[in-house]
């Protein structure tokens, strides 16, 4: 199918996608969360007619606008990068993957773009109620855009509602609703947006805490914190709930990802959850080394979370690579054999069809259909290639969970002392609050590392490895654009941070 695979090009293309996605994800969660917080502040203003709330809404809106611009700048490239760097992917799954991107444009981006102008420049041009409506539309539009891109991403993780068409050599959509309401897509959307709400709340807390520590804009900071702490606390609970659902889906649909982020090499019944541990990075699947240098496990919890049954079997990396007959698990080694048959028969089918040999085509198609479920494995050379980078995924997952457990405590403390009226005296808490946004950002980035690195080597889980999904480019070409992106995004990030810091320094009163 593909004669020569330039691994270094693939890795540069991977790095470029990771770079652009990670830059983009610095700004997006803030847009998701802060847009709702601004809508809350403005709603309170409309309800109370208290100008202080308007000032608060406008201040956060200024910071939102700066963040939004660079979010848009880093976002456009992601849509087109599917075509530029992953053109085989775009052809093979474009019939399915393109649809959510188009819906995102029609149903969400226009909502954001249209009402964004009203939100920023419409204070004196439209009625107060229409302005508030516009602010809510921006928040809803931002989160709707997340829905559609996460539906697309969810489909990559759990491809359903489609079939492979051997004549066109691509996957074709068969059930739009199955794709939209896939459990993976739903939990991706709910987990990602709620974590964005949480991050938006941390952003408000960080800046407001800094003001309180400096003794500036005290009333504005306290009011901002009150709303953010409530929103953040509610979001934290929802993040935990949806996170559990996401992990359950991983266990059911992407067991290799679960095994990797738990560092579970050997599957077991009544498996324990690693609460903390240092993973043995030199460990290879199938060798005799211990997986951990140090670990604390909570007994049975992994089985309970993965299968809702504390005594159930959770497959390890070794089971998934080499198989486990006792537990009826087919290994990647066996799947590769079947996958190679599928690849070979697909080629024979196309050859016979071209030659007008309908009997030959029929025979090849029959064998292909028996093995097509493993088509993607046919492009792997060794079963160990089905294992993602375990250490990176393990640490990313555990950092995310640890930080995710800390945030509700921070929100509760803020809420308690704000309601008590003594928040300004809690210097220790305010100091934690100042750094909390950066912890939130780390958790956000770790979450995406788990989701995306954890499903390597697949572009489409089990069906299309990234080595096949790529464009036929030289490594040098992709390297060049990689460094162009590093340069431009870094420049823009520096500019954004400097502008943001200056605006924070200026504060809600203006110059």
């Amino acid at each position: 199918m593909v004669e020569q695979i330039d691994l270094s090009m693939v890795n540069w293309a991977r790095a470029q996608f990771a770079l652009t996605a990670m830059y983009h994800w610095i700004f997006v969660p803030l847009t998701l969360g802060l847009s709702f917080l601004i809508a809350f502040y403005e709603s309170i203003y409309i309800k109370t007619r208290n100008e202080e709330w308007k000032k608060i809404a406008k201040f956060w809106m200024t910071l939102f606008g700066i963040n939004f611009a660079i979010g848009v700048a880093t976002g456009i490239i992601l849509e087109f990068e599917f075509g530029t760097n992953w053109s085989n992917y775009s052809w093979m799954v474009g019939d399915i993957f393109g649809a959510p991107l188009a819906v995102e444009g029609i149903a969400a981006f226009f909502l954001e773009a249209t009402f964004f102008a009203v939100m920023f420049f419409g204070w004196e041009r439209v009625s107060k109620k229409f302005h508030l409506f516009s602010t809510w539309m921006v928040a809803i539009g931002s989160n709707l855009s997340a829905l559609w891109i996460l539906v697309a991403n969810g489909w990559m993780q759990y491809p359903i509602g489609m079939a492979f068409n051997p004549d066109t050599a691509r996957f074709e959509m068969q059930d739009f609703w199955a794709i939209l309401f896939s459990p993976v897509a739903i939990s991706k959307f709910t987990h990602t947006t709620s974590s964005g709400f949480l991050f938006g709340s941390l952003f408000v807390i960080t800046i407001s805490s800094w003001y309180l520590l400096k003794g500036r804009h005290i009333q504005m900071a306290r009011k901002s914190i009150l709303v953010a702490a409530v929103f953040g606390l509610l979001s934290s609970g929802y993040v935990a709930f949806t996170g559990d659902e996401a992990a359950y889906n991983d266990a059911q649909k992407q067991p290799m990802k679960l095994a990797a982020f738990e560092g579970l090499y050997d599957g077991e019944k009544g498996a324990g959850l690693v609460a903390a541990g240092i993973i043995n990075s030199s460990k290879k699947v199938g060798d005799d080394q211990d997986a951990f240098l140090f670990e604390i496990r909570i007994p049975w919890l992994l089985s309970l979370l993965a299968n809702r049954d504390p005594g159930s079997f959770v497959p390890g990396i070794k089971d998934l690579v080499y198989g486990n007959e006792k537990e009826n698990i087919m290994g990647a080694d066996e799947k590769i054999k079947k996958g190679k048959i599928a690849v070979e028969q697909l080629a024979l089918y196309k050859k016979a069809k071209k030659a007008g040999d309908s009997a030959g085509a029929e025979a090849a198609l029959t064998v292909f259909n028996q093995n097509k479920e493993y088509l993607g494995f046919g492009y792997l050379n060794a079963p160990e290639e089905a294992v993602p980078p375990v250490s990176l995924v393990y640490y990313a997952f555990h950092i995310m969970v640890a930080l995710g457990s800390l945030f509700p405590i921070i929100f509760i403390a803020y809420l308690f002392f704000t309601l008590k009226g003594t928040i300004i005296h809690q210097k220790w808490l305010l100091s934690i609050g100042v750094v909390s946004m950066f912890l939130g950002l780390a958790a956000q980035q770790c979450g995406w590392i788990v989701a995306e690195v954890g499903r390597q080597p697949w572009a489409i889980q089990d069906l299309l490895p990234v080595t096949i999904a790529r464009t036929n480019l030289t490594a040098g070409t992709v390297q060049t654009t990689f460094f162009m992106f590093v340069a431009i995004f870094t420049l823009l990030l520096i500019a954004e941070i400097r502008i943001m810091l200056k605006q924070i320094q200026i504060g809600p009163e203006g110059k």
Binding site: I76, E79, S87, G94, E104
Partner: protein, 381 residues
């Protein structure tokens, strides 16, 4: 409803929808055209502020339309998306870079401590409006002149020119279309500013803007004429509807225009409307030329896309391997996806309705110098 339509009808419907989105984009690049006029028309800071704030309330609409154009092409014609973006790599990358830098420039330009300085952000806007639009025009030109790609039996693309798409900019035909688009965007931009800004007290600024409309039409005309004359005399990429075999057909695009009278009417009416927009602005002192020019541009855009894609024509032809050429029939999504997307497209009129309503609401009062220099100036671009 849509499920009962045959695949061919759905493919044609989606070519019409994509052409409409693309043509609306060609109208909305008045934002980019306006950006290139910033230094030329805005002599004083307040004039520059008026231009930036006027365009700044629309830039996202253009940007979003571009994103939708990409998404809709991906959904309806994934083989084009894969072939063109993966193949003509550099031309698309450069276009995208110009839009990346545009996206921050309105917001960052006047903000204190903005690191790169006001002039650099203005330069970004200029590059987006000139290089970006020129390259888009050159890329659209390849719908008629062809590109250098080969598709294998699995439809994976190999580009045969090392410039990977940039070679499109070295064709006089493609370049002419690109330059026409740049000057057309500039005249639209000037007409939009005349419609959107209150020039009271800034009569010189108004006169400069009005003059720019005519000057840019005069600059656009030679490139338009070269493009049109070449189009009607050149050989085109025809497709045999029975076998799907692509071959060079003499006078193909002229034949397309003559055999699709509505498309010819779109082209001629579009050009007349653009010219009327300029005439009414430059010689009759009116400020509503943007609506004539805008509608005219949309009609011309539709005519160009329809000429490229309909009447058994390969809309993305390959010079390197004729049989790799893409038609709206061999490049499209499946019947199911086109059907599902057609239901989604029912939202487009709703979107257009609220965009028009909000636009009308926001532009009911023109932007004034007092607005961009007064108490609220800190909140402006």
């Amino acid at each position: 409803m849509f499920g009962n339509l045959d695949t061919t009808t759905l493919q044609q419907l989606w070519w019409i929808i994509d052409s409409l989105v693309g043509s609306l984009f060609l109208f909305l690049i008045f934002v980019q055209g306006g950006q290139t006029l910033l230094w030329q028309l805005g002599k004083a800071n307040v004039e520059k502020s008026l231009i930036i704030n006027s365009l700044g309330r629309k830039w996202e609409m253009t940007f979003t339309t571009l994103v939708l154009f990409g998404g809709a092409l991906f959904a309806a014609f994934p083989k084009f998306y894969a072939t063109s973006f993966g193949g003509a790599y550099w031309v698309w990358m450069l276009i995208l870079f110009t839009f990346i830098v545009q996206a921050v420039s309105y917001e960052f330009r006047k903000k204190p401590n903005n690191f790169l300085g006001e002039k650099v952000y203005e330069l970004f806007l200029f590059i987006n409006g000139s290089v970006g639009i020129l390259l888009i025009g050159a890329a659209v030109g390849t719908f008629f002149t062809g590109s250098n790609f080969v598709l294998n039996e699995y439809n994976f693309v190999t580009w045969t020119n090392p410039l990977r798409g940039l070679e499109a900019a070295f064709s006089l035909f493609n370049l002419s279309l690109g330059l026409f688009l740049v000057f057309n965007a500039r005249l639209l931009g000037a007409m939009y500013l005349l419609n959107n800004i209150d020039f009271t007290g800034y009569e010189d600024f108004e006169a400069r803007t009005r003059k720019a409309v005519l000057v840019n039409l005069l600059c656009a005309l030679p490139f338009l004429l070269y493009f049109l004359i070449s189009l009607v005399v050149m050989d085109g990429f025809g497709v045999d509807p029975k076998t799907g075999i692509v071959s060079m057909v003499s006078g193909k695009y002229l034949a397309n225009l003559l055999s699709m009278p509505l498309v010819l009417i779109f082209l001629l009416a579009g050009l007349v409307l653009v010219i009327w927009g300029v005439v009414t602005t430059s010689f009759r002192g009116k400020n509503n030329g943007i609506w004539f020019g805008g509608l005219g541009t949309v009609l011309v855009g539709l005519a160009v896309f329809f000429t490229a894609g309909f009447n058994n024509t390969a809309f993305y032809p390959s010079k390197a391997a004729l049989q790799s050429s893409l038609t709206i029939y061999n490049a499209s999504s499946s019947h199911y996806t086109l059907t599902a997307m057609s239901y989604v497209a029912l939202l487009i009129p709703v979107v257009l309705a609220y965009v028009v309503y909000v636009w009308h609401l926001m532009d009911a009062k023109k932007i004034t110098a007092a607005e961009v220099t007064g108490e609220q100036a800190d909140e402006m671009y």
